[in-house]
Symmetry: C2
Subunit: 325 residues, 2 copies
């Protein structure tokens, strides 16, 4: 427990930062008409009747005078895609509004778009808050979109992974002596992967293809004209390997053609092969849309983010499939 005298500003800030927040940009217009905006996560709702919200501004902020004199200001709850905008409005000195289209609001305060929610306010009170001023505003108008909101926690942007009201359980609680539970990450990743693969497998069976052929076609659809060794460099992480037999099978299905020059053999997709691969990708995208509809856009973004972080942290050194040659 750190008591008052021993407060280290950085450590105290870190402790406060564990309280998760959204991210807002708050805008107003200076007396001379200049648009003013800053990023703030000190926003919160206060009252429903009358509808009041609050946020606080450092007394030494360059925008202090503008906000102190302004009658109106707008709070923009930023969406997950507005991380760069958050950064722009958090820095000083830039022409923050450059290139931004503004919507028409009920006051002259700039109204940004692409946000999760917007609250157009009139200052109701301003209160002393130590080195900050607390602005309490009456909400005169508001709107919101379905865009997932941007989150901030411990100095990092984040996305929310929402918990349903009922606990998500896949099976019964295992007896205590069972060392294998549904909570094992490896089990969850495997089961999620195989369940997502279910529809693709059905398509592959109508295409008379196995999973290995699917991976080979996928790689060739991104980078054509590869040698067997290069193909395997991209698919070996699956535990499957292509060999001349598997390539011949794809050739006899007229999905792949062989290009032989003096030095080596390269494989290219035929028009049929590209068509087959496109159908697989279209199906994968349809399955993903179905998942996104069930989980929600923000949660699906969060899942992808976490999977990418997991992959990056356990990457055995796979070659970059998309790098230009």
């Amino acid at each position: 427990m750190t008591t008052h005298k021993g407060f280290d500003p950085q450590d105290f800030r870190a402790a406060l930062g564990t309280f998760t927040t959204g991210v807002t940009i708050i805008t107003t217009r200076a007396a001379d008409g200049e648009p003013i905006g800053i990023t703030a996560n000190s926003f919160n709702s206060v009252s429903l009747n009358p509808p009041l919200v609050l946020w606080s501004l450092a007394k030494n902020a360059r925008s202090r005078e503008a906000f102190a004199n302004a009658k109106h200001w707008n709070v923009h709850v930023l969406s997950a895609a507005q991380e760069a905008l958050s950064g722009r409005f958090a820095r000083q000195g830039e022409d923050k509004f450059s290139g931004l289209e503004l919507d028409e609001g009920i006051s002259k305060a700039p109204l940004l778009n692409g946000c999760t929610a917007r609250f157009q306010c009139r200052t109701a009170f301003s209160y002393d808050g130590g080195d900050h001023i607390i602005f309490v505003g009456e909400v005169l108008a508001y709107d919101r979109s379905e865009l997932p909101p941007l989150v901030f926690q411990s100095g990092q942007y984040a996305l929310a992974a929402r918990k349903p009201r009922e606990e998500v359980r896949l099976g019964s609680t295992p007896p205590p002596e069972c060392s294998y539970t549904e909570d094992l990450l490896g089990y969850l990743l495997g089961r999620a992967h195989y369940q997502m693969l279910h529809a693709l497998r059905q398509l592959l069976s109508t295409q008379a293809l196995d999973e290995r052929s699917f991976f080979i076609l996928s790689v060739l659809s991104i980078r054509d004209g590869l040698s067997l060794q290069e193909i395997n460099g991209f698919i070996s992480y699956t535990g499957m390997l292509a060999d001349e037999t598997s390539m011949s099978a794809l050739e006899s299905q007229r999905l792949v053609a062989i290009e032989q020059d003096e030095e080596r053999t390269r494989y290219v997709l035929t028009a049929d092969g590209r068509e087959a691969s496109l159908r697989q990708i279209a199906l994968a995208k349809a399955v993903e849309e179905d998942v996104a509809a069930k989980l929600g856009t923000g949660d699906t973004m969060a899942l992808k983010l976490l999977l990418k972080r997991l992959i990056a942290s356990s990457d055995p050194g796979m070659p970059d499939l998309w790098s230009p040659r």
Copy 2:
């Protein structure tokens, strides 16, 4: 855009709720010594010097008098495991503190444990906030743990999936005509699954086992004495199926024994089979600990939560492996 006169309280609340927050429990002690506590997400930091925080309390709250008269109150930033505690302190009439161990604080205000951060405060100001009172407190002492915080967004609890400062990219940006990108959920799930499987595959090869055998042993380690058909009911989602040849191979490796009665053939794990399975589970747990160390505890919890939601939403109707018989 909804303007003032048209405010529907429920819709306005929903718009405010898109601003993500942490969850706190704020405690004090009434004049008669009764412990008081409420769940609040209206907390925020205000000032570093002096160290001030704020939160707001409904004017019609039962605890209003206690907080208005108290000099001291404590803010507890709840951890991800404290969802039930949040619910308990959000409801009225319960003996909220029943069974809770309290820590010794600098005032008589109850100090809960198991939190992400705690701020022990003395009321500095209290301000009018419409139907709420805004309490601004000077932080006299604080502490924090490494426990991941609980998040609240749009009326649901959540976990944060943090974004690193640098964008997570697995490969180069694909050319615009490429329809196959690293952003495809199916690709990410497959690659994450196969990368997590990498260490297990190495173990399996020292055990002279293939993946199908791994799934068979795993199922038998949870539910012993299954018929071939029952085993396949549990592993068919992987696309792999057990047959008598695969079971005979496991029997000749002395990992599985065959129990024949009049009606049918059942398979049971031998002591060696159980030992082999335990080594696989131990490895899977070690791989998971490694991931959790890299991603962080909270992000790993978020990943598991999202995978469970994905699995539950795309479950083709798998039998419950852990259900009691």
